[in-house]
């Protein structure tokens, strides 16, 4: 008989605001047994973080209302406890790991103070002993140099290192339960894999229960014994991880799994969670993919060529403000893209892929080498030809002017050098909306009235307005939920087929790249370490780094194979 560590019963929770209450949790029930790793998976806005925060009563009590439901953590009725009683169990019996390792540690305090503080608060030890415990904990998280990390300030550590510190802190008082809220989302895949392994190992060793909050089904598959699928403040399905993922019962779970590119035929259209379902209606819930019929023949001419492309940034300046040392972001890259093809540039943060993308569109100047568009240096191109290269940025929030209506945003490039009438522009905007799958009645709205996926459609529409030949897509789906990502990927594939577009696709996500790209170039520490046909590079990598990368990617199939 497994002891129950957490039991939530029919919990409802509302946020109070001037505009009226907003129901975040609509009667959820959850149970975690001793030593169990339980996942809660859901998309943004589903209420999964609220669930986690509420376990430790970290939400401001004056701003929430709990009409029904009970929460029992380790036998405590946390909702009835006052702040002082809660402080005694927070960090002691229950601890938490947060998403953002960059901001979750206090920047002005040493790691030492932050860990020791927790230990001294909950365990009856001397400061000297606390130091010994801390160092042991840091060593347990496989930090090679615990003494140095212990003495460091957070900004002196890498993201992965900080997350290890967070884990050491969470385990510091031998808690019975750890709540991990998206613990690896902000990390690179190779680091993510290490941190997930570490978390699992530490939890198993110490028989600690873990509640893992994530948006990533593959992470759940890799780590969790049981999983709860959350949608709009409700658990729509729960059960053993292998059952839920292998044989999903609820339509939403099925839709979510179908929208993942992993395991689907490359360039096939992905199923998406239907708009009707997202609006809360019942009925048809999965939009079955429609395969396109028309395909434009590809000429196969080389459209873009990078010859020893190099980008350097000044790092240190001398007395007169002249740079003396440089950081090389892109180091002698040679690549070629053929018309109608998709070349994916894949790599982890800081590898130089965005610098290269910016150089292609002219936002960065090359320090060395050249980029040729149809055999002409991009620096020598005239305005008209330059406009054949357009870019779509990662964050659809910041890439649209918040004060402009959609029709103005989409047609801004058309006003260059001429002044077409308003009605002409609006007609064109309506056409573009149709092209990118927005309703043309929405052209008078402002960006904030749209969801993230729709904003990305607007950004794509703007890029298409000048009929470009080459689109640079800088992580176009990484700020989006998986079901929305599927929609955008479908759209990109459709557009490519209809208009014969060429894509330079920048991404850190191998499964997305595998799905959309013809050719792949892997970037590591400013250099392209491997390039070639997508299936060849990604299934039979030759370079050491590519292999590490491929093994680190969380994968549903691999999780079950193991």
């Amino acid at each position: 008989m497994v002891k129950t560590v957490v039991r939530i019963d029919d919990l409802r929770l509302e946020f109070l605001s001037q505009a009226g209450p907003f129901e975040a949790l609509k009667g959820i029930s959850l149970e975690i047994g001793e030593g169990e790793i339980v996942g809660v998976v859901g998309e943004s806005g589903s209420g999964k973080s609220v669930t986690a925060m509420n376990l430790l009563q970290l939400l401001p009590r004056t701003k929430i209302n709990v009409p029904t439901g009970s929460i029992s953590v380790l036998g405590h009725d946390v909702q009835a406890m006052n702040e002082r009683q809660l402080q005694a169990i927070r960090g002691g019996e229950i601890s938490m790991i947060f998403q953002e390792p960059m901001t979750a540690l206090n920047p002005v305090l040493r790691v030492k103070n932050q860990i020791d503080d927790v230990i001294l608060r909950h365990r009856h030890v001397t400061p000297k002993e606390a130091e010994q415990i801390s160092l042991k904990l840091l060593a347990d998280t496989k930090i090679s140099d615990p003494q140095r990390v212990y003495e460091s300030f957070p900004h002196e550590l890498s993201g992965g290192m900080r997350q290890r510190v967070m884990i050491a802190m969470a385990f510091s008082c031998s808690p019975k339960l750890i709540v991990a809220d998206e613990p690896t989302t902000a990390l690179d895949v190779t680091v993510q894999a290490q941190i997930l392994d570490l978390l699992k190992e530490r939890a198993r060793d110490t028989k600690t229960s873990v509640l893992l909050i994530t948006h990533d089904l593959a992470v759940v598959a890799q780590l969790c014994d049981r999983v709860y699928v959350m949608y709009k403040g409700e658990f729509v399905e729960n059960g053993k991880t292998s059952d839920v993922i292998g044989n999903p019962q609820h339509v939403y779970t099925r839709a979510l799994l179908n929208s993942l590119p992993e395991g689907k035929a490359p360039k096939s259209r992905l199923a998406t969670v239907s708009a009707a379902m997202l609006e809360g209606n019942t009925g048809e819930v999965i939009d079955e993919p429609i395969e396109p019929v028309t395909r434009i023949a590809r000429t196969g001419d080389t459209i873009l060529k990078m010859q020893g492309a190099t980008v350097r940034y000044p790092k240190d300046y001398n007395f007169f403000g002249r740079p003396v040392s440089f950081h090389t972001a892109v180091d002698h890259v040679n690549l070629e893209i053929k018309e109608g093809e998709t070349l994916a540039l894949v790599g982890e943060s800081g590898c130089g892929k965005t610098s290269l993308a910016n150089a292609v569109v002219g936002l960065n100047l090359l320090s060395d080498g050249a980029i040729l568009y149809r055999d002409k240096n991009i620096l020598d191109l005239n305005e008209e030809t330059l406009r054949e290269i357009q870019i779509v940025f990662q964050d659809p929030q910041s890439s649209l002017d918040p004060r402009w209506p959609v029709w103005r945003i989409m047609t801004e490039p058309l006003t260059v050098g001429k002044s077409p009438g308003k009605s002409e522009l609006r007609d064109r905007a309506a056409d573009l909306c149709e092209m990118v799958g927005l309703e043309n009645s929405q052209i008078d709205r402002l960006p904030h009235e749209f969801s993230g996926g729709q904003r990305q459609r607007i950004a794509i529409g703007r890029a298409l307005s000048v009929r470009p030949k080459l689109l640079v897509l800088d992580e176009p789906t990484s700020a989006l939920d998986v079901s929305v990502q599927a929609q955008i990927l479908n759209l990109l594939l459709d557009l490519q087929d209809e208009h014969g577009l060429t894509y330079l696709f920048i991404s850190h996500d191998v499964s997305v790249v595998k799905h959309i790209a013809d050719k792949v170039a892997v970037m590591f520490q400013s250099k392209v370490v491997e390039a070639g046909d997508s299936d060849q590079v990604l299934t039979a990598p030759t370079h050491e780094y590519t292999r590490t990368l491929m093994n680190a990617v969380p994968s549903l199939n691999r999780a079950f194979a193991a």
């Binding site: 946020f15 001037q18 505009a19 907003f22 975040a24 943004s44 806005g45 589903s46 209420g47 999964k48 973080s49 609220v50 925060m53 939400l59 708009a275 997202l278 609006e279 569109v361 002219g362 936002l363 305005e383 330059l386 406009r387 290269i389 357009q390 870019i391 940025f393 964050d395 910041s398 890439s399 649209l400 002017d401 918040p402 004060r403 945003i409 801004e412 490039p413 006003t415 260059v416 050098g417 709205r445 904030h448 009235e449 749209f450 969801s451 993230g452 729709q454 950004a459 703007r462 890029a463 000048v466």
Partner: protein
């Protein structure tokens, strides 16, 4: 927490935002501070525009028999001064003088400061270096000291005061606009516009200027308060308004000899300055909080 925000504002089709005026909307934005700011501002404006109709006495004409009349007696709402002049009417005159002076100077400041700020923010170059050095210099010398030097030399009077304030105290605009415009020029939508070949003037007027507009309003209100203080301080020191003109600064200066006999001579102009300054500060705070509510960032 942030998750909740996303789902509230960005449902699939977005929130419906009507464009028509409604009292519900007013009630939503009207917190007590904004109501107070609005009321005080209205009073200030009414006095500034229609003050002449509300004066009970000729502000320059005294009645030596009625010197030092305490407030509320013999028809003197706020009492009378050492020459038997009506303090209420003089205060209204002072309000009009101060408002006119601060408003004109503020508009000049706004144009100089934001133009230089925008141009310096757009790209690095000689202009940025010169403007920044100039601002750095002006910041290292207290504004009041420069004003005193210039006013003493140039002489007293409305126009000289307005021009001095107008030409020398635009640094705050330059700083705020420079900081904000610099970040706007780095935004992705500006970069996208550049890539599409949109001209620099079009980017400046259509993307960047609307982006800093909210901050301009906020700075305008706070700076207005600052100019009111500077103007009355200069007059108080005998450097701003010519002697005898009923301004708050002059009234305060006159009150100093009669502190024991007629404290209201101090209280009336002091109260007027405080009210005007607090009102403009409240308006600035109100505009800042309103634009924050709309989700636009402000850096003042």
């Amino acid at each position: 927490m942030s998750e909740v925000k996303v789902s509230r504002t960005g449902g699939l089709l977005g929130t419906e935002e009507g464009k028509t005026f409604s009292w519900d909307k007013v009630r939503q934005v009207a917190n007590p501070e904004i109501v107070i700011a609005f009321t005080l501002f209205t009073i200030l404006m009414v006095l500034a525009v229609f003050g002449h109709f509300l004066q009970t006495h000729e502000p320059m004409q005294g009645d030596l028999l009625k010197r030092f009349t305490p407030p509320g007696q013999e028809g003197y709402l706020f009492g009378s001064d050492h020459l038997g002049r009506d303090l209420w009417s003089r205060m209204v005159d002072g309000l009009q003088w101060s408002m006119a002076c601060a408003l004109t100077a503020n508009i000049i400041n706004l144009f100089i400061g934001s133009t230089l700020g925008l141009l310096a923010a757009e790209k690095p170059g000689a202009l940025r270096i010169i403007v920044n050095q100039f601002v750095y210099t002006l910041q290292s010398l207290p504004g009041l000291i420069i004003l005193i030097c210039v006013v003493v030399v140039v002489g007293q009077g409305f126009m000289t005061l307005v021009l001095t304030l107008g030409l020398l105290s635009w640094v705050v605009y330059m700083r705020v606009i420079y900081a904000e415009a610099s970040s706007l020029f780095q935004r992705e939508y500006v970069q996208a516009a550049r890539l599409a070949g949109v001209s620099r003037w079009s980017i400046m007027f259509n993307h960047v200027l609307p982006g800093v507009r909210a901050s301009l309003f906020v700075v305008f209100a706070f700076h207005f308060a600052g100019l009111l203080i500077a103007e009355s301080a200069l007059s108080f020191l005998g450097l701003g308004a010519p002697l005898g003109v009923p301004t708050w600064g002059n009234m305060l200066a006159e009150s100093r000899q009669y502190m024991i006999r007629a404290p209201w001579m101090l209280i009336v102009p002091a109260g007027a300055i405080v009210m005007a300054v607090v009102t403009m500060n409240l308006v600035g705070d109100g505009v800042a909080s309103l634009s924050r509510k709309k989700g636009r960032s402000i850096d003042v």
